[in-house]
């Protein structure tokens, strides 16, 4: 990274969104990004997404899980997993209604790692391989998690929409 203001600001914003997906709280997300940023500063970089995201992830696990094991359910590899291929993580979706606040409430009911994979795949549009590097997971686990989190979120949005109606 050449270190231009625009590039670094972009990195801060992406880091913030990643932290927000983990914490689901804007103030905690900002604290998390600042903590991670100082850690990268002290280490002297590198100022890459992978390194900054890993710093955010590690601090989230340390601070907000207080040393508890991150509950990683054993997942079978995605049935469409093929070595060397990049499975499309977000194939064409059917339309979904979302009231203001509905999506936020539904996301609040997901686990942090589920929100994180949804953000990284849908919003940041990273590949499964890149997400696996950020989260330090096997690629098959990423594929399974994205598939499951999408289904879970869709159901939760429908539930929230139904209960709000």
């Amino acid at each position: 990274m050449k270190g231009s203001s625009a590039e670094l600001n972009d990195l801060v914003q992406r880091g913030y969104r990643f932290a927000l997906s983990l914490t689901h709280d804007s103030a905690r997300a900002e604290d998390l990004v600042q903590d991670a940023w100082f850690a990268v500063l002290k280490a002297g970089g590198p100022w890459t997404r992978g390194y900054v995201f890993a710093a955010i992830r590690n601090r989230f696990i340390d601070h907000y899980r207080r040393g508890k094991l991150v509950a990683m359910e054993p997942l079978r590899d995605h049935p469409d997993e093929q070595p060397g291929s990049e499975t499309q993580l977000w194939p064409d979706e059917e339309a979904a209604y979302a009231e203001n606040g509905t999506l936020g409430r539904a996301l609040g009911r997901l686990r942090p790692e589920e929100r994180a994979v949804l953000l990284l795949s849908a919003v940041e549009e990273y590949t499964a391989r890149e997400i696996a590097e950020f989260l330090d997971w096997p690629r098959g686990t990423v594929l399974s998690m994205v598939h499951r989190a999408r289904g879970k979120l869709r159901q939760l949005v429908q539930d929230e929409s139904g209960s709000a109606a």
Binding site: M1, K2, G3, S4, S5, L8, N9, L11, V12, Q13, Y16, R17, L20, S21, S26, A27, A29, E30, D31, V33, Q34, D35, W37, F38, A39, V40, L41, K42, G44, G45, W47, D62, H63, W90, D92, E93, E94, A95, A96, Y97, A98, E99, L103, G104, L107, L118, L119, A122, V123, R150, L153, R154, V157
Partner: protein, 213 residues
């Protein structure tokens, strides 16, 4: 209702908000100085790293002075006692001021949240004391907010209000933590919840304090 696919809704949701602009600007400036200050690929020594941090502090000070008030502090004189510095009507217990400036209040405030029943409070207390001793002659106010019970919590809020740092209560605060806040920009610059975050708190202090003449 808005119609679109789930991917679009997620994108709208996560891109609607952003980190506070002043925070983004400060973090960007820190990284920029770190990157552009040298391009060596070899591992940096601790001395070299801290030299870069202090260089970054000078750059951040230039940015901070653009929008933040600048306080001039008289130096060299013994500071007022605890009784002189605390607002009237508050108990020593709640308004414990470890060190203070006698004339104008500093822009920087280090706030320790304490509770008698909190197991973490005794852990962060020595760190707070160490920071106060180390930075006691610098323009930063060290204040303890006792949140043991409703009475002390209310007193702490009054103190926060008198110091102009009500914003620290914009979100629920835990005991056994230290915040470094800027009264003028109303930013929280650093948060300490564990002993191993002490270096980061000191970095934040060093970067936020005006450079010694």
């Amino acid at each position: 209702m808005s119609r679109g696919n789930l991917k679009d809704h997620l994108t709208d949701y996560y891109t609607a908000g952003s980190i506070k602009p002043q925070t983004a600007k400060r973090l960007t400036a820190l990284a920029q100085v770190d990157i552009n200050g040298g391009a060596e690929s070899s591992p940096r020594s601790p001395v070299e790293r801290w030299s870069r941090v202090m260089y970054a502090a000078a750059a951040c000070l230039a940015i901070a002075l653009m929008g933040i008030g600048y306080w001039v502090f008289p130096g060299g004189e013994e500071q007022g006692s605890l009784a002189d510095s605390q607002p009237a009507g508050l108990s020593d217990r709640t308004a414990e001021v470890v060190s203070s400036r006698s004339d104008a209040l500093p822009g920087l405030v280090a706030v320790k949240f304490h509770a008698d029943w909190c197991g973490r409070s005794p852990v962060v207390a020595p760190i707070f004391t160490e920071l106060a001793e180390k930075y006691g002659n610098r323009p930063v106010l060290f204040v303890t907010f006792d949140i043991t019970n409703e009475t002390t919590q209310q007193q702490a809020r009054y103190l926060a209000s008198s110091l102009g740092i009500d914003f620290v209560y914009e979100r629920p605060r835990e005991s056994g933590m230290i915040l470094l806040v800027d009264r003028v920009s109303k930013e929280t610059l650093a948060t300490l919840r564990e002993t191993r975050q002490q270096p980061q708190m000191e970095t934040a202090l060093a970067l936020a304090l005006p450079r010694k003449p």
